[in-house]
Symmetry: C2
Subunit: 407 residues, 2 copies
């Protein structure tokens, strides 16, 4: 008998009808002989409704109170799902994050899980009861509600799967897995049967919304096999996220991605000496701005240029911080370039295959797409290009690495 | 410096605007130098909305799950009120029933408070923070949410006031106190400045909705002074519910009440011997039906009649149980009479004044109102009359005992 953690997102429990459908699916897994633990999010729209109320009261609501408020969203879902399960004939009981033994640090609204003691869930399983656990929430050491921030329910599910030594953590969502590219842009994008933790991590960081990077990291650390599948169709096979095996290493590139939320800031004519970059990025880090790619040009007459990219939404703010440091850095000016996009290829196979990056550059060159910046990691190559070529670049790379649906 | 517990019902926190008004009122009490603890209900309509969801899922939802679900209603209110208080500049923190230390028995949906350990609330008070506590809810010994049933938030407030040895428990509601009669029926009904616990208990049992009998009992047991006042008007003086004092004993009758939710069942020609009544009412009690008045007529030829009243809503069911016992009791028949009402006068003064009951009977007789049944307690006289005379009887008694507004 295996232990399965199933996680259902807000859309999957967005109406009474859908809650009934989830109950039926959970019960089938139970009847198939598995020990099932369910983790659910708030009903779609509920978290926003609660946030709306809080913001009607205050422009900057206290985060402890916000966590108390938002925790109710998942409590409603778990109670309704437990009622639906019992109605269907399946013994079930709901548990808050606290009751599920999820202990976090003290940081409200984006707490980190410190420890899980799922004693009550284990007792329930032993008695044949399906525990339905509130995702997204935990309890700090002063016994206050905390919430885990964006993607928190996935993290709850993966962490519980680790704590319960589950055989698999199934993440049910509104898509049927991880794709080789965004199917909205690349019509022949293919669902990936398997990806490695590292590939998924890169894809998540590149904007694959199906699973947040922090959940993947957690799954990797505790080696929890995660399956992402659709709750809207029957027999969705989904995508298995796990350690790489022999098969996987034969695939050079697993997926391609594009991110148009990019802006580039360039500081020109800085003195090329130690500590300059540290000063600049120290200032920016203190403002909690996230820098993605950094490129320093070759020095010329003791002067150099530094370019870096930030999310477009934070571009103006980053520019201001860069400008503040101009005199400190003895730089000439700071300029902002928008209208750019980042295309990336991801695959563990790159580690054992040479020439992957150049194949990417050639494919882009063949379409006359100019590359503005390049960055590489062990399993990823990203290029900054002009954003009007973003979709073309994505399709080109998808073809070049033969990722399309086989006929 | 005194400790005040203020309780606000669902209407008082029914909108963001009203929550702000409550915050202002709480802050004023704090600024006046009091240690204030606030207890709130769910926003008006929220509990019904949640119940509606549960009943969409199941006709008979599990009570443990229902308590998990309903507990969220008060959690939303306390979080929003705490945010509103902080926004107004008043330090505040919300606490669930659990966090407030309210421990109950295991009976979901109508739990009884077993113990209160308000350690966290006391810590908050010492640090100048206003604790905002979820009413209606507690935690049982297995650390599950429980709810206290109807009027539960009032009970939470009174119980917390007792545990915190508060100087007063203020119950804010949509009426400005307890009246000598229902002002909808008796236009010159007068707000009572004070009533005794016992009088309030009788008035609550007779249908005064302002405060439930269980809260009054609790207040009486722990001698918590309770003030019922309006949250909708400024400077509502309200009604103080406390132990009787010299002044109060001079008032013979504090209030009059009428209850039209009455039905009378009569069993005719039973053998007049021991054990017959026990058999009948034992059967009815096992069906959880509540019997109010019981009258056994004088015996005639070894045979007697027994009449009793039940809430009209339970009349058919009570009749069926009475009919079931007919042969056991060797009774002739069981009949049901509806169209009746109960008028009552209540006052601690009755204990030291004679002739109060006869004054009531005379007043009714003067209006040609026939009395069908009579029951008395130390501080109450009730008469069953035909319900078409209910309003007339109420006004008549209100006049007869000179309860009206003084000119």
């Amino acid at each position: 008998m295996s232990v399965i953690v199933q996680k259902y997102g807000g859309t999957s429990v967005g109406s009474i009808e859908r809650i009934r459908a989830v109950a039926a699916r959970v019960y089938r897994a139970k009847q198939a002989g598995h020990d099932v633990v369910v983790v659910v999010s708030a009903m779609a729209g509920e978290t926003d409704r609660l946030l709306g109320l809080a913001h009607e009261v205050s422009a900057l609501p206290d985060t402890r109170e916000l966590d108390m408020l938002l925790a109710t969203g998942e409590m409603v879902s778990i109670a309704l799902l437990a009622i639906a399960l019992k109605e269907a004939g399946c013994e079930a009981a709901s548990f808050t994050g606290t009751q599920g033994g999820i202990v976090t640090d003290e940081v409200h609204s984006r707490a980190r899980i410190k420890q899980i003691t799922p004693t009550r869930l284990q007792h329930a399983l032993h008695r044949g009861i399906v525990p339905v656990v509130a995702g997204f929430q935990g309890m700090n050491e002063t016994q206050d509600f905390t919430t885990l921030g964006r993607g928190g329910s996935d993290l709850s599910a993966v962490a519980l799967a680790a704590a319960l030594q589950a055989d698999v953590c199934e993440i049910y969502t509104d898509v049927d897995g991880v794709y080789s590219a965004d199917p909205n842009i690349v019509p022949d994008a293919r669902r990936l049967a398997r990806v490695s933790y590292d590939e998924m991590l890169e894809l998540a960081r590149l904007g694959a919304k199906v699973l947040q990077a922090r959940s993947v990291l957690f799954a990797k650390k505790y080696e929890v096999p995660v399956v992402v599948k659709s709750s809207l169709v029957e027999n969705s096979e989904g995508t298995l996220i796990t350690n790489p095996d022999q098969d996987m290493e034969q695939v050079v590139v697993a997926g391609v991605a594009v991110d148009k939320n990019q802006a580039k800031i360039t500081l020109t004519r800085l003195p090329d000496r130690p500590g300059i970059a540290a000063k600049l990025f120290g200032e920016i880090a203190r403002a909690n701005l996230v820098v993605d790619m950094i490129i320093q040009n070759a020095s010329e007459g003791g002067l150099t240029d530094i370019s870096f990219t930030v999310p477009r939404t934070e571009a103006e703010q980053a520019l201001q911080f860069a400008q503040k440091t101009l005199s400190d850095l003895e730089a000439e000016e700071a300029t902002l370039q928008t209208g750019i996009a980042k295309v990336s290829i991801v695959g563990v196979g790159m580690q054992s295959h040479s020439g992957v990056a150049s194949r990417m550059f050639e494919a882009l060159a063949a379409e006359n797409i100019n590359i503005l910046m390049i960055s590489t990691s062990e399993i990823k190559v990203s290029c900054i290009i002009q954003d009007r070529y973003a979709e073309l670049a994505l399709r080109t790379l998808h073809d070049a690495f033969e990722l399309g649906e086989r006929p």
